[in-house]
C-alpha cells in the first residue's frame, strides 16, 4: 500500500464538494431485494447531513442488530385526523417528530416504512422542514396501498427507506386523510430495520484522492508504531439534507 509519500495527491477530505451529496431518497445498492444489513463488522459508513459528513466504522467486535417493527400512531382519539376537504387544501397533521425512532449515541438506524392504516397519506421530512422523498412538484407521499403492495409481494427494496443517526437527525412525518367521509383516530406508521453501533473515525485519519475519488484511512500500527494508509470503501447514507439547499 502506498505511504505518506503520496501526500501530494492525497489531500484532506473536503466534504463540501469532494464527494457529491446523495439525493434525498436513496436507491442504491443498499436497496436490495432482501432487507439485510448494509454495513457488516469492520466496514465503514459515511454519514452525510447536508454539506457535513463524517466517517464511521462498525467495529469488528460489534454486529448490526435487527430493529423489530415499531408502530407509531400519528393521530389519536383526542386528536383525530380530519377528513379530506373539498377545497383541495387538505387538513393535514404534522409534521410530527418521530422521536421513538431515535437512537442512542454513536448509533445509526436504517428503517423501512409501511403505511399500516388504509386511507392515510404519509410524508417524511428530515429535518422537519425538508421533504425526504420529493420530485420537482414537491414531497411524494406514500400510503398503505403504495407500500403494502410491495411488502406483500416481497419487493422490500421498493419500500421507503430512511436513516437516523443518534437523536440529532429525527425524522418527522405529516399525515393526510384520504377519506372524504370521516375522521380517523388511527394513522399508524410501521418502521423496521437495523441499527449499527459505530465508532467515529477522526477527521485527521481520513485522506481523499481527488483524482481517483478513493478514500484512505491513515493510522498508526499499534505493534510497530509505523504509519500506514489503508484504502477504505465507506457507504454513504443521508440523514437529511440540512442546509444543502
Amino acid at each position: 500500500m502506498s505511504t505518506t509519500s503520496n501526500k501530494e495527491i492525497i489531500t484532506k477530505i473536503n466534504t463540501s464538494n469532494a464527494l457529491s451529496p446523495p439525493s434525498s431518497g436513496l436507491v442504491t445498492r443498499l436497496n436490495r431485494l432482501v432487507f439485510e444489513p448494509m454495513v457488516m463488522p469492520g466496514q465503514y459508513v459515511r454519514i452525510q447531513q447536508g454539506k457535513n459528513a463524517e466517517i464511521f466504522q462498525l467495529s469488528r467486535l460489534d454486529v448490526p442488530e435487527p430493529l423489530p417493527p415499531v408502530r407509531i400512531n400519528l393521530a389519536s382519539f383526542t386528536s383525530t385526523l380530519a377528513a379530506l376537504t373539498d377545497t383541495g387544501s387538505p387538513q393535514s397533521k404534522g409534521p410530527t417528530k418521530l422521536t421513538s425512532l431515535d437512537m442512542p449515541n454513536y448509533t445509526l438506524a436504517q428503517y423501512r416504512f409501511v403505511g399500516l392504516d388504509e386511507g392515510i397519506l404519509y410524508e417524511l421530512f428530515q429535518p422537519a422542514s425538508v421533504a425526504f422523498m420529493e420530485n420537482k412538484d414537491g414531497s411524494i407521499p406514500f400510503s398503505y396501498d403504495t407500500t403494502m403492495e410491495f411488502y406483500l409481494n416481497g419487493l422490500w427494496s421498493m419500500l421507503p427507506e430512511a436513516y437516523v443517526y443518534q437523536d440529532s437527525t429525527t425524522i418527522s412525518c405529516k399525515i393526510t386523510n384520504m377519506d372524504m367521509f370521516g375522521t380517523t383516530p388511527y394513522a399508524r406508521l410501521l418502521a423496521f430495520g437495523f441499527k449499527y453501533p459505530l465508532v467515529q473515525i477522526p477527521d485527521n485519519e481520513i485522506r481523499f484522492d481527488e483524482d481517483t475519488g478513493q478514500v484512505f484511512r491513515e493510522f498508526m500500527n499499534p505493534r510497530t508504531q509505523a504509519k500506514k494508509i489503508q484504502q477504505i470503501h465507506p457507504m454513504t447514507v443521508s440523514v437529511g439534507r440540512g442546509n444543502r439547499r
Binding site: 379530506l84 373539498d86 377545497t87 386511507g119 397519506l121 400510503s143 396501498d145 384520504m178 367521509f181
Partner: protein, 134 residues
C-alpha cells in the same frame, strides 16, 4: 372461490362502512369518494350487506353522486340507479332481521367517482359495505 375476492387491484385499498337509511324517500349518502386532490381515487363496491327489519322486500338504489358538493359529475339517480340491489323479506316472527348479502363476484365493477348515494324502498334498512378504492 365463490363469494370471495382473491386479489385486490394493485395499489388499491379497501375500507368498510355502515349506514342506516332512515327514510325511503330521502337520498342518503353511503360514502363520499375522495375525488379531491391529492387523492382522486374512484371506489368500487366489493361487498354489501343489507339488513331489513321491515316485513316487506325492497330495493336499494345506488348511484354516483356527492350529495354535499356539486363539483364532481354525477351518474345515475334514485330513479335510474347504477346499481339496484334487491333485498328480501324480514322474518316477522322472532327477532332476526333478514340480511341479504352481495359479494364481490356478484357485484359489477362500476366505478363511483363522486360518491355512493342511495335510496331504499323500505325505511330503516342498514347497509354495511366494503369499498375498494382503485
Amino acid at each position: 372461490m365463490a363469494g370471495t375476492i382473491q386479489y385486490r387491484k394493485p395499489f388499491s385499498f379497501k375500507k368498510g362502512y355502515s349506514k342506516l337509511i332512515p327514510s325511503g324517500a330521502v337520498s342518503t349518502q353511503l360514502v363520499r369518494m375522495p375525488w379531491q386532490v391529492p387523492v382522486q381515487k374512484p371506489g368500487v363496491l366489493r361487498k354489501v350487506l343489507i339488513s331489513n327489519p321491515v316485513g316487506l322486500a325492497g330495493t336499494l338504489a345506488i348511484w354516483d353522486q356527492d350529495l354535499s358538493n356539486t363539483t364532481p359529475p354525477t351518474a345515475g339517480s334514485a330513479g335510474a340507479a347504477l346499481l339496484p340491489l334487491g333485498f328480501g323479506l324480514s322474518v316477522l316472527s322472532g327477532s332476526a332481521n333478514q340480511t341479504t348479502v352481495y359479494t364481490a363476484d356478484q357485484l359489477p365493477e362500476i366505478p363511483f367517482y363522486s360518491g355512493m348515494s342511495s335510496q331504499s324502498t323500505q325505511p330503516g334498512v342498514t347497509v354495511a359495505f366494503e369499498v375498494e378504492y382503485i
